[in-house]
Symmetry: C2
Amino acid sequence: MRIAVIGLGLIGGSLLRALGAAGHDVVGFDADPATRELARAAGFEVGGSVRETVAGSVVAALAVPLPILPEVVADLDGYDGLVTDVTSVKGPVRDLLAGRRFVGGHPMAGKETSGFAAAEAGLFGGCAWVLCLEPDGTDLDDWLLLAGLFTRMGARVVPVTAAEHDTAVAQISHVPHLFAAVLAEQLLSNPLAGTLAAGSFRDGTRVAATRPELTAAMCGGNGRAVQRELHRLIGELRQLEAVLEGPEPIGAMTGYLRRPSEARRAWPATPGRPETIPADIPDLLHLGRSGGWVTEVKTGRVVVKRPETDRFLP
Amino acid sequence: MRIAVIGLGLIGGSLLRALGAAGHDVVGFDADPATRELARAAGFEVGGSVRETVAGSVVAALAVPLPILPEVVADLDGYDGLVTDVTSVKGPVRDLLAGRRFVGGHPMAGKETSGFAAAEAGLFGGCAWVLCLEPDGTDLDDWLLLAGLFTRMGARVVPVTAAEHDTAVAQISHVPHLFAAVLAEQLLSNPLAGTLAAGSFRDGTRVAATRPELTAAMCGGNGRAVQRELHRLIGELRQLEAVLEGPEPIGAMTGYLRRPSEARRAWPATPGRPETIPADIPDLLHLGRSGGWVTEVKTGRVVVKRPETDRFLP
């Protein structure tokens, strides 16, 4: 199968390598001539433009940063194959690609280094790869084609809507970055805090050291979900504040903290045994919502795993 | 110098060992007979009661948990030596010991294991040891006596008021535990979040796994400071919420995040060169407030270090 990868940084370069290693006829393109040269030197076919690179391919995977995506999409005029992407926000990309054969994706993979030189075929082994499935817009065969490609690389493919993805990443990544920032800001007004700070501060603020441009682009790009989840968590913190002002703060707080403490100790969940379920949109979405993922695509069916226990669910 | 240590868990046991290794005439006591037996077997003199143990000692160090402290203090009737403690909240202990020769302490030391068996003489090497200094209540000679003992164990002695201590630990430990709990609680309502969560969630929620009784006792014991600092940080988060709703969220958020990001990257600060300053209460309190600590006590003077740079201070 001929597959085009646009953008050859860490994720795009790793995708090119992984798809090539799986025996596909891959072609890549990057706006940076030096990157194109690196990919050519590594033995890959490299196109001269987006338009030329995607022509004749079955799948075009867009692995460029979100701000660049609109101009790359404009260059797809005339291309009628299947398009996917790897950006970390899915609602805005779904809207940008409306009217096209498109399935949005987000591999939860990365490492400290970036660029094609750091790319490796094994990057996606074991990683969760969100692949968006909209009840009213996604072609199931397109979704299964990509799910098959990515599971064969060892990824755990997670079927959810773009909105569900954006809410979950706001909860587990974007809002935690904002929490870390307000905790770290305390160093500015109280030098004593920095002298006494130890493990709980070190871990709770680690991601505050991220470049502010990156955190702002990530949160701002998912602004509606981040604002909603931040608002909800502020409400939780206000409940804790009320508990501290109440008559029996230690007992009430122990009760409040018990379930989060159990939930954190049970995370990450152990996967249960593989099951085979029908490859239809309602079953797949139910799987994703319950924390499960696809490990293999078969004709009309998929092999899946779910977290072993749901004892902490309401 | 004869020194009594009451409570021979990890901190008290380590203190007994460190003071013994420094050549002091030490005697210990623990309410648990098995712990007393362990200390005796390790070659230490062990008393039969609090009253008997402290009799004749120059310093009595109380290394018992906060809830036990009132009954131990009641057993000090008739003892007129210097009393110190090691609990993690200082305002309530200052009030409990009002009218006595008392200097509150808090060594920021610990490890995963607990009990006398885990105690070691080297536990305090390099650790910050808060030693409270109240402009209107602490006898400076008493403070310097203890600062000398603890700096000779390798501790960095931090002179601050009880109120300053309680605010700082609320900022860098207690409120971060509450932030971690509300982030971890999201696992309960959204199983998808647990499947997609990675590094920023793992680190931001690590301390949510602490036993809820411990976190509640810690936060509740420092309730006023925790409530105040939590309230302030909720205000910061609401500012971020407003930024996300504003007209230029990415630019505004980049501006907001820049200073916390720089501050976190500059933490922990590199200590500057040693300085010698007068051993008086105003100079010592200024040192503590600016993030510095005492490394050695001399006659009428102390050797101190401060964080090398204050370029992030307002």
